[in-house]
Symmetry: D3
Subunit: 223 residues, 6 copies
């Protein structure tokens, strides 16, 4: 505890942008169905879709001091990721911190705790994915760390990993795999377009994906 890692590596901006375009569901499939944060991590308003580099924060329960420390470490296009050291729903973050984080380049926040000033954050268009909405205030007494590995929403997140977040939730892509995942995501999207067209026309997935034989082999009975 009490460490700030100042220079972290980030993925290529064009790769990050591409992952954001693909969105959480596609990216998560493209990397082998891994990386989704737990389903209790919900957006405070619908319609946002962002991707950026994780600036991570490990913070004590009910203590948001490290957010101020982390904001200094932000670069354009980063996403703050905060995990408390024990479960906590308090409101670590509101419109003042959002104003500051945005001024320093942040695109949004992913937090395994609470957030407040929902009306103002919505008006600002500063998106947050959180476990709770809570006005409960915090203190500034105990150190945590910035840009260390954390577990947030049940996923291990390293500083500089790519965070993709939209109405489906949040997905993390390791920095090292980001460009490979993007390539697979784009291939997946291309393939889906054709399938969507055929399904819309009334063709069945049973036929398009050629499932009938395997279903029969497993013993599916029609009665």
């Amino acid at each position: 505890m009490g460490v700030v890692v100042q220079n972290i590596d980030r993925a290529d901006p064009s790769v990050i942008e591409g992952l954001g375009r693909a969105g959480v569901a596609t990216v998560h499939e493209a990397q082998g169905r891994k990386g989704c944060l737990a389903s209790h991590m919900r957006p405070i308003y619908t319609g946002a879709r962002i991707a950026g580099s994780a600036v991570t924060i490990s913070a004590p329960p009910g203590d948001n001091w490290m957010l101020h420390v982390a904001i200094e470490q932000l670069r354009e296009g980063d996403i703050l990721v905060l995990a408390p050291t024990s479960p906590c729903d308090a409101g670590y973050f509101g419109d003042l911190l959002a104003t500051s984080a945005r001024a320093r380049g942040a695109l949004g926040l992913v937090i395994e705790a609470g957030v407040r000033d929902i009306r103002e954050l919505t008006e600002m268009g500063f998106p947050v994915w959180s476990r709770a909405i809570s006005a409960q205030g915090t203190v500034k007494e105990t150190l945590g760390s910035v840009n260390v590995p954390v577990v947030c929403g049940g996923q291990a997140i390293a500083p500089g990993d790519v965070i993709v977040a939209d109405d489906d939730g949040v997905c993390v892509v390791s920095r090292a795999e980001a460009s490979e995942v993007l390539a697979r995501a784009e291939a997946r999207e291309a393939a889906e377009e054709e399938k969507r067209r055929r399904l819309a026309a009334g063709e069945l997935g049973l036929d398009i994906y050629d499932m009938r034989g395997r279903l029969a082999e497993k013993g599916l009975r029609y009665v």
Copy 2:
């Protein structure tokens, strides 16, 4: 496991339509305060109100294979109802399956698990009531069954039962009772109109429903 029942009976379309107009709260009262699915079954967007015949799916945790099988069994006006065989939040359903289900007649989905592609489903106007929103993908390895009785949201649902769903949640009406429930729901609505007018004018429920005597008899004290 591994059974698909192909021909199920459905309620009369005009009865189904009437139940949909009445809505979940009225229908549930009209059948004796029963049939409401648990309150964790929430719509992915507000404003939808549908009613249709249940095409039921019993699926293994994390395996959405049977959705493809079920879609073939749909008729115009049906609603898919999926219950996993053990608790699971994974995202069984997204915009491709919705495209296919709609093409085959489905009005929506009720699922005791997760759903994804929320933005696309909202744009399509394909409503879903689910326990979770999750991009977590599923596999296609293990058989389940289609059009067998299931328990979803704490309610027993038989194939062909009428599902009513709106912003209040989801209610099931057994096929056999549907027309009788509709009659009571319509009577209830007519009665409510007059009460609403009197309450809006400032009259008290204590007087309209003549409660004062019974309250006094039970011992209510005003101090």
Copy 3:
């Protein structure tokens, strides 16, 4: 059980109005980070912000009889606060009761249970903060009490306390402290304006709040 306290003291209307303008997060900080109801108490729609005097209801699980009794006790600007005597998600309140409560002066409802007729309540603009949305109906068989102290959302609430509620949740201010809390809330808001401007310009909280020395003293290391 079975008591209705008819004449309760309320805070000064201008104080209540001021607290409503300040909002939940500011009010809660202004009274020393206390009074927030638990984060599961969520608004049924976003955008409402109200403040009023608590008319409290202690009700049995699944029994909404006392709501009718409480509505008679309302005055203009009150907020109904209902806590069940054991945990219950049933839908105690819907559009008929809202019509009646509004006609008698209520601004909204805070309920540690369920609420229904969400579409109608939203159209009416009658805000509710609740633990659940549920169409499950209730009975009228057992007495509770009105205008007695209750615990709702983990906070002790006395009749006549000021309730502030917005998108961040709900906060209670004791009647005796209301004007003092308002004074502190207004001072706080004035101070925030200047900070927001500086943060928006890119200054850091680390500098504005002069945190660097204390962080170093606690042992924060930059690597």
Copy 4:
């Protein structure tokens, strides 16, 4: 609501006894991995293992009146199964009711709600599987029904179905399938004995169940 079905069919006592000997895990597997109640249904003390015929109760939240009605319907070897009509943790059942239920033949209780007098029930050796332990009392004001189909712990249970309960939780076997399930359970147990011996000797499941080929075929890589 408000119906008591007085004469229900029960399974053969020797079949019930056999299912009890096999236990929850074996019985559940023997009927195709179905019938387990949700994992929040826990025994109030460890070590009990019972099987019996379900006498079912559908009760309002916080109202235990129907337990008295149900006790009259008990026969030797029955198990009470109570499901509230909306979620409730109140303590419906304690040592007086247990004394009465036992005197009329009950072996235990399965309840999707709370239970109290844990010390006395443990001393009596009257086992209960419940969702909660709670001293919160209930009223006797509203009718429910006895020996109607209920959903308890996420499973549909009909009166006369066989309930098996032990430290692993609770499983329901439909009356019609009970003897067939017993046959499969006994076959399963015989097969397990040999496997247990081989596994204890250090042989691997990979070899005993001949899994290596299929794992390789699916693409498992050893590195």
Copy 5:
């Protein structure tokens, strides 16, 4: 925050002792079915039954400093009651604090948070009712208060209130009502003895409590 009330009134020791003998379920009924803490407040081991005067602690999340302050305020026969200012599961209390608390007169702890050193506490026979068992440590940085009113397990508890705790959970009795509640509890126990004897002999509650007429009047049908 930051206040220690040093001299609190306590109930009469013989009354406290009597309430402890009666136990949680009886005491809670005797005071009108109120005062039970939420069912998630569970004992760390079974078999303890205590009653004592509440020495209350309001503590920040993850900060157990005030426990040391509170221990100085203990008198023989007291029970520590800790509520965090926002939800927290961290382990505030272990065997060292228990050793200290016992040396100063404490009979046990009721805590809406976590506790650790379960093995040692069990060996010492120092009972705890808590929301969680967790080894997660806490800090000593932020003030809370001692002997102020708190909400714990959903119940308002004032310093000096009587706490009764056993295998059924925890109940609070206000100091002012303690002797009256004891009188009713003892009357209740006397009445139960006779009922238990009759129920054990096979008489039905339906007859002992003369329920048949009222059930028929409400419309209960036997089929």
Copy 6:
């Protein structure tokens, strides 16, 4: 997915043994209050205390195939650690697998899912820390991985990390830090012995830890 890492490094056996002797609470403090798994990870029976090297398993929901694969990778003194790829309570593990795991050297299991055959596991003395007890069976259809990094109970666990588990829950110590943590744990235990003696004699933590000055400085008021 679908990878088995066969040779992993483990910590020194004497270090592991020492950490086990110290127990979860001490070890967790000794490494800076980190490493505790979430408090829902509970032992299936009390009294066990183990420490060993993690053999990790990432498994699909409801599929326990990889347990068989992992058992082959066990060495004497290992502990199995299983995390499903999406939340699942099904019973992945029972007495047959325990028999096999023990025969190959396992000391116990830590599983973010369900376990069954509780009676048999207790009789065998094979300890398990799990999120649920559930008889719900699993399939063997989909690959997972063995000895890859996992997140279990909210903590990142690498193969070969040291797992310490007792009645307080589970703690992970990274292999690289194990001996250093042991040294600090032993120092901590030595210091505690003296404190325990003084606290038992009635001295206050306020004095032993010299807290009075700092409390006064922070503004604590005695009234």
